[in-house]
């Protein structure tokens, strides 16, 4: 008969409470919790279909070790021995700084904490980071700077419904994150003013009162020059009681977020406190992984720097992430291919796993115990609803075994023991040692930070669009849903998020003017380069704007040339460009 396990969804950063229904062998359904403060009986279509991807036959079943151009199935002792030999070889030949370690927002807080300790104490390297370096780190780094450290909770999702003014940056914050969207609708029905800022929107939904055609990068400038805003918008925005909803994955430089917050709160924070903020992410544990220390240590390299051509990193140890899916430039892929050793511990046979020297199967989040931190700063328990797969080993076991084989002593911590250590070492997480609080529906909401500090970060310049030229926007799509392995594994969800092809998206009227039909190729030229790409006509794209998803790395690079470096997060991004379009 059916067993109902209360747990949390692990698709995105909202951390909705759900029951997963299983028949003892496999998951057969999901139901949102009505008593959970985030979900309140609601889920998005990913959540409702979460059980489906667990049927996948594409799970890694046995460890793999590279033999020439092939990966061969081996036993665990063989795989661990091979890994140990490789790590020892790199350590003795080049020293600990030749190794990089990658944690993951698709792992629990406890596993990320263990990985950080393993990296620091066992391998002795400070080169520790996550793939979110390219999708999310900029937002978290900006908030860290403002609050001089880890910032706990900046507001709760249910509180959005009571906020008089809500600024939503990017339509997908509402559409793709239904607990947030649901509160926006509630607020709208109660008379709140909901403002949308989105440069890729031609028709706003009726519950948005105003549409500002700006990306997050240029919102601060628009807010400072208040004359460019409709006066009613200014009247709403610069009052206390504002909620700011944005997708952390889309923030490409820390300075853009800091400038935005400062433009919204020009007076001392005590007079006009910072808005309630929900930094959303398409990964489930972005904030948790970041807070657990999956960041470069003192003198350590970011993932960007580890994969720089000049970098002295020779080996990478990757946990729970399909890294190649999230790389923003092709030179990084080249560097990755040339690494002497890559260990991948993951659930599926991903593109990254295919290129590894050693692959270790780990459990799904559905089979794992531990906690995750959602975008509100809510720490909640995952409860496994599937038994462990025969040949999978938890990350903790792998780390323990590797340490022992490397002649070091890595403690065998249970989950509660790790949480006790986290509560001592990571300041906003003091309460996570309380198992009874964690057992409650909704878990523990981290404390709100103290007042923000003044903070100035160097800004990236925005280019003006000239007459007869198009503005090319390159939104960060490295974590796009149609690139998520768990979406691919679900028959319903892969139909909802069909894969896209490398193309520039253009407004239908612009296409008509240039006599371009769907699929026809155009030459797009910027000051930095040019490319040829097919056109996809999209009525959501405003006139004189082109959109190119950033995950089409080669097309983006040939057009945008070298990416811009964000000094704060030490990573690259592609700012919007002024381009010309020519029919071929």
């Amino acid at each position: 008969m059916v067993k109902n396990t209360p747990t949390i969804c692990s698709f995105c950063s909202n951390g909705c409470g759900m029951f997963v229904r299983s028949d003892g062998k496999e998951a057969i359904g999901c139901l949102p919790m009505t008593l959970h403060p985030v979900s309140e009986g609601r889920l998005c279509h990913r959540g409702w279909n979460r059980f489906q991807n667990l049927r996948s036959f594409n799970r890694l079943s046995l460890p793999l070790v590279r033999e020439g151009s092939n990966l061969k199935e081996v036993t665990w002792p063989e795989a661990l021995q091979k890994t140990t030999e490789k790590i020892s070889e790199l350590l003795s030949r080049y020293g600990p700084q030749s190794l990089g370690v990658i944690g993951s927002p698709w792992l629990t807080n406890e596993d990320n904490y263990r990985i950080a300790r393993f990296s620091r104490d066992i391998l002795g390297t400070n080169h520790l980071d996550g793939s979110y370096r390219f999708s999310g780190a900029a937002a978290l780094a900006a908030l860290n700077q403002l609050f001089s450290g880890s910032f706990g909770s900046l507001g709760s999702i249910p509180a959005i419904a009571q906020t008089p003014t809500i600024l939503v940056i990017g339509k997908e914050c509402c559409r793709d994150f239904s607990p947030v969207g649901s509160r926006l609708i509630k607020a709208f029905l109660h008379g709140s003013t909901v403002i949308l800022a989105d440069p890729l929107c031609t028709r706003k939904e009726h519950f948005f009162k105003y549409l500002l055609p700006h990306p997050i990068q240029s919102l601060a400038a628009a807010f400072r020059d208040k004359e460019s805003l409709p006066p009613e918008v200014s009247a709403h925005l610069f009052q206390p009681g504002l909620a700011l909803i944005f997708l952390a994955d889309q923030v490409d430089s820390a300075s853009s977020l800091v400038s935005l917050l400062q433009s919204l709160s020009p007076r001392p924070p005590t007079e006009n406190p910072l808005p309630l903020m929900i930094p959303l992410s398409r990964s489930p544990n972005l904030k948790g992984a970041w807070d657990m220390g999956i960041q470069p240590g003192e003198g350590g390299l970011t993932l960007q720097e580890m994969l720089d051509e000049e970098s002295h990193v020779k080996g990478l140890i990757l946990f729970g992430d399909d890294l190649l899916n999230h790389l923003p430039t092709s030179s990084m892929l080249e560097k990755f291919k040339n690494l002497e050793f890559v260990l991948v511990a993951d659930r599926f046979f991903t593109e990254t796993a295919r290129m590894a020297h050693c692959v270790l199967p780990i459990p799904l989040l559905a089979e794992t115990r531990g906690t995750m931190t959602n975008s509100e700063g809510r720490v909640q328990k995952l409860r496994p609803f599937l038994g462990p797969q025969k040949e999978n080993r938890p990350v903790a076991d792998i780390l323990y075994d590797l340490s022992r084989r490397l002649g070091k002593d890595f403690p065998v911590f249970s989950e509660p023991e790790v949480r006790r250590e986290i509560s001592k070492n990571i300041s906003p997480y003091t309460k996570v040692a309380s198992e009874s609080d964690l057992e409650e529906v909704g878990g523990i909401l981290l404390p709100a930070p103290t007042a923000p500090l003044p903070c100035e970060l160097p800004e990236a310049a925005e280019q003006a669009t000239e007459e007869n030229r198009y503005r090319l926007l390159v939104p960060n799509t490295l974590y796009a849903w149609n690139r998520n392995q768990m979406i691919h594994e679900s028959p319903v969800l892969r139909m909802e998020y069909p894969s896209d092809r490398p193309a520039v998206r253009m407004n239908p009227l612009d296409a008509k003017e240039l006599k371009i039909r769907m699929g026809e190729k155009v030459k797009v030229r910027s000051d930095r380069g040019e490319t040829q790409a097919p056109v996809e006509v999209d009525e959501n794209i405003p006139s004189k704007v082109l959109m190119l998803p950033s995950h089409f790395v080669e097309v983006v690079e040939s057009l945008a040339g070298k990416a811009v470096r964000d000094v704060t997060t030490r990573t690259l991004f592609f700012p919007s460009l002024s381009v010309t379009v020519e029919k071929l």
């Binding site: 009505t34 609601r42 279909n49 489906q52 049927r55």
Partner: protein, 350 residues
């Protein structure tokens, strides 16, 4: 229809007797939320009374699971062997199903048994006995009164085997089928004939319960049906309603009447399976064709289609009733606050 009386204190004993030939599921709490679960130990009596809370997941998943394997296959030395899963149950009693959910199963019977005989559904449904409980008191979101989904079931129109009416210390037990009688006959001495005062009390409860429902959908439903049937809802209304739809599918999953499913395949090496799962007309992939063309690409169009199927008279004529039993779960499930009553109210305004 035979009416007998059962003292509430004898309910547990009656259920114990059922275990001789049936599995029994009854509403139970898991972390504060209510599910239909196999009965073990004491029944949660507050979930079996006339004003009990409606479980969020209707027991439709017992006859039509959220996902199920249809068949598996393996190839061994050139021969392909097929197998279908073992039966979920031999004989099952659902105790405490609410009127709206019973009406929902009746609707599913029409879809899965009358148009064509679905092997998997039929196998479960044939071995199922429904002990429904009439509702003396609606919950906040209930509007079954205007959808013929309750609060009391009409024996001629519903598929219940037994309807229990909560009369404080007693249940009035109304047997509506041979399956129902079989359960009463497990031990006739537990039951007594009702005195006329009890029958009168039952009728008074039914009358009183009718006055306790939401007013708006009750009075607007017929207008909505008329407007949808005559295609007189302006397209911009559907666009506006569609903008509030999050394509989440929650309303269809918790709807006791929604019957759509998709089919998936999974295989590795020499083994694999073919399975089906709840699908939703909210989803853009539901109607997208292989070419990529989607006849209902806009959310407003999908929204219109959903409510057309639920409320249009052409389906009422074919299926005998509207595709809504008024349980109100879509109100809880909808992030956009466009559950059935909100839509009906919006359609009335035109």
């Amino acid at each position: 229809m035979e009416q007998v009386v059962l003292q509430k204190s004898n309910l547990n004993h009656w259920v114990e007797l059922m275990h001789g030939g049936f599995q029994v599921v009854a509403p139970s709490r898991v972390h504060g939320e209510i599910f239909f679960l196999p009965h073990a130990g004491q029944l949660e009596s507050d979930l079996l009374c006339g004003n009990a809370t409606l479980p969020y997941l209707p027991p439709k998943d017992i006859v039509f699971p959220q996902s199920e394997t249809l068949f598996s296959f393996t190839r061994d030395a050139g021969d392909i062997a097929f197998s279908i899963p073992e039966k979920a149950f031999e004989r099952l009693v659902i105790l405490g199903i609410r009127s709206c959910d019973t009406a929902g199963i009746h609707w599913l019977d029409n879809f899965y048994l009358n148009n064509f005989r679905d092997f998997y559904y039929h196998d479960r449904r044939d071995n199922l006995t429904l002990i429904s409980i009439a509702c003396n008191q609606p919950m906040n979101n209930c509007f079954c009164i205007c959808c013929e989904g309750g609060p009391f079931l009409n024996p001629e129109k519903a598929a219940f085997d037994i309807q229990l009416v909560d009369l404080d210390e007693h249940y009035l037990v109304e047997c509506n089928s041979e399956k129902g009688k079989e359960l009463v006959n497990l031990n006739r001495s537990l039951f007594s004939p009702p005195d006329p005062a009890m029958v009168e009390a039952r009728d008074q409860l039914e009358k009183k319960s009718h006055t306790l429902f939401l007013h708006e959908p009750t009075s607007y439903m017929s207008t909505a049906i008329r407007r949808i049937t005559s295609n007189s809802v302006p397209p911009e209304v559907w666009t506006e309603l569609g903008e509030r739809c999050f394509d989440d599918g929650g309303c269809t999953f918790v709807c006791p009447c929604c019957s759509c499913f998709g089919v998936g395949y999974s295989s590795k090496g020499e083994t694999g399976c073919h399975y089906r799962f709840w699908d939703s007309c909210d989803y853009s992939g539901f109607t997208r064709e292989v070419s990529g063309h989607n006849p209902r690409a806009e959310k407003g169009e999908r929204f219109k289609r959903r409510f057309f199927h639920k409320l249009s008279y052409q389906y009422v004529k074919r299926d005998g009733r509207i595709g809504c039993v008024g349980c109100g779960r879509c109100i809880t499930a909808c992030p956009g606050e466009v559950g059935m009553p909100a839509v009906v109210e919006r359609l009335r305004r035109g």
